[in-house]
């Protein structure tokens, strides 16, 4: 519990007096997560929602963001489309954290041959570009939300491991670490609470947000290009954007484009809450 308490205190300190853009970014991310969690409860009939009579309509009380050229409600599909990346994106973050944090902690704290081996492993994964690695995983295991999440998680782990390892290595002989050991703080508590949680918690939070933002880009790109992402009629912001391609500029194109831009921008801005600059 001590490790969790120390981590929570470090994150709270990083978030003190946040800039207004950061607050807006967090609100956007919360809205996206809520949309993904609550939209299935609305009972929108995916696949049975084609209505030629109301095709390509503008905003109205019945269709807040209008309809696409098949008469499908853009607002509902936008809300349901967020499910394509919120769940798998969270899984990708969990996998990146589960792999990256322990590897980084070992590399930073152990030193010697163990650190060398771990750093070689991290460097080997990091030498293959993220998207290339994810497509390689899709080649072997097929394309699907789980494969993408695992791929993005593995590809995101080296950045986390490197950041955690560098920070812990710098703090390994710091006075507060020696004092904690002298006061009888156990090694797991010292490593997880004081070194990983307090000293690198904000960095980890920022990198996990970047992993999530990267997943939003990845998922929407794969669905936009087609063949490896979410197939029609299931909604995804990427396939919504391309679905009304060539039919002029309408809300059915602008809404998913704006949603992708705002969500990716929100992860970048929310990540800045955890940088040194805002912590004074």
């Amino acid at each position: 519990m001590s490790a969790l308490r120390v981590t929570a205190a470090a994150l709270a300190a990083a978030l003190r007096r946040p800039p207004i853009t950061g607050v807006i970014a967090v609100l956007i991310l919360l809205a996206v997560v809520l949309a993904a969690a609550l939209s299935p409860l609305g009972g929108y009939p995916i696949g049975a929602d084609v209505d030629p009579a109301s095709a390509s309509q503008g905003p109205s009380a019945a269709h807040w963001l209008g309809t696409d050229h098949l008469g499908r409600d853009v607002a509902w599909r936008l809300a349901l489309g967020s499910r394509a990346f919120v769940g798998p994106g969270a899984v990708a973050c969990l996998i990146a954290a589960a792999l990256g944090i322990p590897l980084g902690a070992v590399a930073g704290f152990a030193g010697g041959g163990v650190a060398g081996t771990v750093r070689f492993l991290i460097g080997s994964v990091a030498s293959v570009p993220r998207l290339v690695l994810i497509l390689l995983i899709c080649t072997v295991y097929g394309a699907g939300p789980l494969q993408l999440a695992v791929g993005a998680g593995i590809a995101g782990a080296p950045a986390l491991a490197e950041a955690v390892g560098t920070r812990i290595e710098a703090l390994r002989s710091a006075d507060f670490v020696l004092a904690s050991r002298a006061h009888g703080v156990t090694l797991p508590n010292l490593l997880l609470g004081h070194l990983v949680g307090a000293a690198t918690g904000p960095t980890i939070a920022r990198l996990l947000l970047a992993t999530f933002g990267g997943f939003v880009i990845l998922e929407s790109t794969l669905s936009y290009i087609g063949g490896l992402g979410v197939p029609e009629p299931n909604p995804s912001w990427g396939n919504m954007l391309v679905f009304d391609w060539g039919r002029g500029v309408s809300l059915s194109v602008i809404a998913p484009a704006l949603a992708i831009w705002l969500t990716v921008g929100a992860t970048t801005e929310a990540g800045k809450l955890f940088t040194e600059r805002h912590r004074g």
Partner: protein, 315 residues
């Protein structure tokens, strides 16, 4: 080139080769860990079973399989395509497209660093709307920027043609035609989108602020000497570090740019390999991508060592 620099480059070369060997091992591990028989995963794989068993060494232990693959890679044999161009050697398929793709990545990398630095030179230490504008454009994913640009160009040209202002423009190339506009656009989008410009700008700005407030710049200013040669020389090392850091990112991004803008290249080929589950082709492209990233990092490290003598001993 002095001894320390040569030693630093040699150590980095060896490190790059060992990293490539590690990346190959991890990639092959993916195939070993695949449930069941990897041949079952390939559409129509059963018909090719004897050939694939020999090609992938499926009857051998994983370590022997790795050694078998490494020996083949050493003589530039990356295997044969299974489903993209069945039977054709991967190296032959990749030679031309990989060169074009590498040129796109390097051009985009140069643009990102030069534009980011130029922008940073203007914005460093002052409040500028350019910083916000660059951030707003740059955070958009590459495919979204491409979509917006192509849509605006299409709609504008279509409206102009309908109203009789314009004949069919020469840059309206069909997907299989070479198009200088699409190639230029791919480089610009890669250099700007998915935060590429934002990241290089932020790093260049941070370095510029640090250098401008340093003692040697103050001393040059006090002597009445021009300060920009000091700033430019000291900027080389951080910019080389930024280049090394962004290399992997842009090498991944080129896959998307080539697919969205219908360009022929190794990136678009990787996408098809993933879709058709052509493992040897995908692995060959992954290896070449790692080689490109490693080479850029090596060149960046050598540049840093040349620019900053303090870094030569830290290979």
């Amino acid at each position: 080139m002095n001894f320390a620099l040569a030693r630093a480059v040699l150590v980095r070369c060896l490190a790059m080769l060992s990293t490539l060997a590690g990346a190959t091992a991890l990639s092959l591990l993916l195939l070993v860990l695949a449930p069941g028989d990897p041949i079952d995963l390939i559409p129509g794989g059963e018909a090719l079973r004897p050939q694939l068993e020999a090609q992938w060494g499926l009857d051998r232990a994983p370590a022997q399989r790795y050694w078998h693959y490494a020996r083949r890679v050493a003589v530039l044999d990356l295997g044969s395509s299974v489903s993209y161009r069945p039977g054709q050697p991967v190296f032959g398929l990749l030679a031309g497209p990989a060169t074009r793709t590498a040129a796109r990545v390097l051009a985009a990398l140069a643009c990102a660093v030069v534009w980011g630095t130029a922008l940073a030179w203007w914005t460093a230490g002052r409040r500028s709307f350019l910083r916000t504008a660059a951030l707003a454009v740059s955070i958009a994913p590459v495919f979204l920027l491409a979509h917006g640009f192509v849509m605006a160009a299409n709609e504008g040209a279509f409206a102009a043609m309908q109203s009789g202002w314009l004949e069919r423009p020469s840059w309206f190339a069909l997907p299989d035609e070479p198009s200088p506009l699409r190639t230029t656009l791919s480089i610009v989008l890669l250099a700007v989108g998915s935060s590429a410009l934002h990241e290089t700008h932020a790093q260049a700005e941070e370095a510029l602020l640090r250098i401008r407030s340093s003692v040697y710049v103050d001393a040059a200013r006090a002597r009445g000497a021009p300060v920009w040669p000091h700033i430019a020389r000291n900027l080389i090392a951080p910019l080389a570090a930024t280049t090394a850091e962004r290399a992997a990112f842009l090498t991944g991004g080129v896959v998307i740019v080539e697919k969205v803008l219908l360009l022929n290249g190794a990136g678009a080929m990787l996408w098809e390999a993933a879709r058709l589950r052509d493992y040897d082709l995908a692995l060959g492209i992954a290896l070449l991508a790692a080689l490109l990233v490693g080479t850029v990092r090596l060149a960046a490290d050598a540049t840093r060592a040349l620019a900053d003598p303090r870094l030569r001993g830290r290979a």
